[in-house]
Amino acid sequence: MSDTNEPLVRFVDVQKSYDGVTLVVKKFNLDMQKGEFLTMLGPSGSGKTTCLMMLAGFEPATHGEIFLQGQPINNVPPHKRGIGMVFQNYALFPHMTVAENLAFPLQVRNMSKSDTEDRVNKALDMVQLGEFGGRRPAQLSGGQQQRVAVARALVFDPDVVLMDEPLGALDKNLREQMQYEIKHIHENLGITVLYVTHDQSEALTMSNRIAVFDDGVVQQLAPPSTLYEKPENAFVAQFIGENNVLSGNVISIDGDSCHVDVGNNRSVHALKVNVNNVGDTSTLSIRPERVVLNPGSEYNNVFEGKVEELIYLGDHIRTRMVVCDDSDFIVKVPNSGELGQLREGDTVKVGWKMEDCRALD
């Protein structure tokens, strides 16, 4: 609070091993600002939960320090950390009513009865469960339980709220609704949230910044748009959104751009992101919506594509083609009534700009 530049949560070179043989978290560094909504996104088993558990104090870090408001907390027991947590299975106490569940963190802090009641009611109203205070968790639907879990994690004004795949058990519609609700609560209360999910659209919808996790390492930490527009490596490009991949060798480097040979003497002009030397292998990443048919002269890369499959999706037609020997090359063709012109087996020209094609590792 005193120093506004001080990150609220700080991981410094944190490592974690459960068995002494493999590192589950390899070298984790993260600064989280107050009020931020930061999401850890990554495939299953990449160590996201482990990082949360270390921050919450349920798992000791094997190496490295974790700071909360500038204080090292490695030796602070969980109940003194003041971190709210929403568990994937909600972990609502089944023997207490909803109101008792919400009152629990206040009671253990010896808050007076009337204050407790006030806060509990306010929290229930916040998640629109005003009349449900007297019910047992088992008498609530999944979405309602989820809201109670969120309210309980917030009711004692924690510095940080951790959420570990809180929406994982909900169906798609409810999940989307809850995403907005959690986001609104975050915006209205100005709380700091560290969120875990392996659903990328969830991460893109909710977060200020996303840390893409893989193999115990943060691959890229950036706001959603940067992550999508400017992935720094092949894993991030693949993991976030849809992506066309061409691979080849770098044949020349020219300032910010480079040329990559993708076979049969076809050279692609691409943005140099992650390649350093001529001769390196490189993965080129091109978003499907940046590829156009019958490109004009401003397009640096123009190749022939053979249409393999057309999938009608209403606003656009998803077209699978063979481009530069890649038979999974996807192009999203806007539905402007030209449908009749494209048929399976046709050969057309496709093109993309140098800036939209990123040469990654």
């Binding site: 919450a56 104090g57 349920f58 027991p77 969980p78 109940h79 950390r81 003041g82 971190i83 709210g84 947590m85 568990f87 299975n89 972990a91 609502l92 106490f93 089944p94 023997h95 629990f104 963190p105 253990v108 802090r109 309980r152 994690a153 004692f156 951790l162």
Partner: protein, 422 residues
């Protein structure tokens, strides 16, 4: 929607059709439980009922002495006189008939034994009289003849007991089971303080069972907790160890305790040899209440561990973590969150152990000695040695009532639906 009852496509009312469909399922369910039901009915329920009936049954007396029973009913006990000659004549006729009867149930000596429970002296009185009748009987006047055989026939107190116990049902077994009986004046009263045994024994049985239950709970809770948090491979191994006692005979285990705990046993010898106690003051740990408690805790511990374990297994570790993250100290998290969730297991284990302990027989018989025997041992003694089955049945029935009462109390406090056996 019309008010007409709903019908199926072919016109049968929906309710009838549903009933038919359900009946089939019901019959199948009934057939599935039928063998077990019959087995339990024949081997458990009927014997127990007949045993319970014995606790009030007194038919045999009037069956053996029918004429006496009829006439004696009209005798006025409080007149102070003996019954008149007609009663004695009837008695003579009954004795005569009994000596020639081939029926097992007609046996004057047995009736004497029965009366002897009420007042000592009856047994010898009946046996002697029976012998006389076997040799040919007596001549009238019968009153003098009987008194000549045994002068107790001239004692109105004995006739009072006979009149009372001629009735088909008796409460005297239950009175005896609560250390009471009839005085010579025919009033119900507690026995003299020195002759009260059963109430004390019930008290001891309940007390020791309660203590065993508490010790079992204290020992089992941490073990069950450990089992529930370990990886399944380790916990399976430990579970086998928990169940190991079931693999050896109860007798072997109890004998092992004798070998360990007796005065010259392993524990005492070790304590003496390392100088904790001296040779003259060896600990008395067996053939008393201590022995009963130690051995029975060992026998019953698995019955506490198993339900606790099965309940704890279903409590996700995230409950405790959630409580901690909400600011609860480990202790608060345990008492406010973890423990309440194990109550069904505690209830199931406690009631299981308690009910088993209250009726336990072999272990206290082997290691209980004087101060460690329980009511069940007394019941067994009456069944096997003293052959007073009526009293055994009454003692057993009271035990059953006590268990039911406790069950109701438990239901009130914990709620029986709240119990989880596995």
């Amino acid at each position: 929607m019309s008010d007409a009852p709903l019908v199926t496509v072919d016109g049968t009312p929906l309710k009838v059709s549903l009933g038919r469909a359900k009946r089939k399922a019901k019959i199948r369910a009934l057939l599935l439980v039928a063998p077990l039901f019959l087995f339990i009915l024949l081997t458990f329920f009927i014997p127990i009922m007949s045993m319970l009936l014995r606790s009030v049954d007194n038919e045999n007396v009037a069956y053996t002495l029918p004429n006496t029973a009829d006439l004696l009913a009209e005798w006025d006990v409080d007149s102070g006189d003996l019954p008149d000659e007609a009663v004695f004549a009837a008695l003579a006729a009954d004795f005569k008939a009994a000596t020639v009867s081939k029926e097992d149930d007609i046996n004057a000596t047995k009736v004497g034994t029965r009366f002897n429970y009420e007042k000592s002296g009856f047994r010898s009185m009946f046996r002697k009289t029976n012998k006389i009748f076997e040799k040919g009987g007596v001549e009238p006047p019968y009153k003098e003849a009987f008194i000549k055989i045994n002068k107790r026939w001239g004692d109105a107190d004995y006739w009072r007991v006979m009149q009372r116990e001629m009735r088909g049902k008796t409460d005297s077994y239950y009175l005896a089971a609560v250390d009471s009986g009839y005085t010579d004046d025919g009033e119900r009263a507690m026995n003299k303080p020195g002759k009260r045994i059963y109430l004390k024994l019930y008290g001891r049985t309940l007390g020791i069972s309660l203590l065993i239950t508490c010790i079992c709970l204290l020992l089992a809770y941490p073990v069950a907790y450990l089992l529930s948090i370990l990886k399944s491979r380790t916990s399976n191994l430990l579970m086998i160890l928990v169940l190991l006692p079931f693999w050896t005979s109860l007798l072997v285990r109890t004998s092992a305790w004798i070998a360990l705990l007796q005065k010259e046993g392993v524990i005492n010898s070790v304590l003496v040899s390392i100088g904790v106690i001296d040779d003259a003051n060896r600990l008395l740990m067996i053939h008393n209440a201590t022995g009963t408690i130690i051995a029975m805790v060992h026998v019953l511990l698995p019955f506490m561990i198993l339900p606790l374990y099965s309940v704890m297994k279903t409590i996700p570790p995230s409950y405790m973590r959630a409580a901690r993250s909400l600011g609860a100290t480990p202790f608060t998290a345990f008492t406010k969150v973890y423990m309440p969730n194990t109550v069904p297991g505690i209830g199931a284990g406690a009631i299981l152990v308690f009910i088993l302990a209250i009726g336990y027989y072999i272990t206290p018989a082997l290691v209980g000695g004087q101060s460690g025997t329980l009511i069940s041992n007394e019941i067994a003694r009456h069944l096997e040695t003293s052959l007073n089955w009526g009293l055994a049945a009454a003692l057993g029935a009271l035990l059953l009532v006590a268990v039911f009462a406790l069950y109701l109390v438990y239901d009130k406090i914990v709620g029986i639906d709240n119990m989880k056996l596995g």
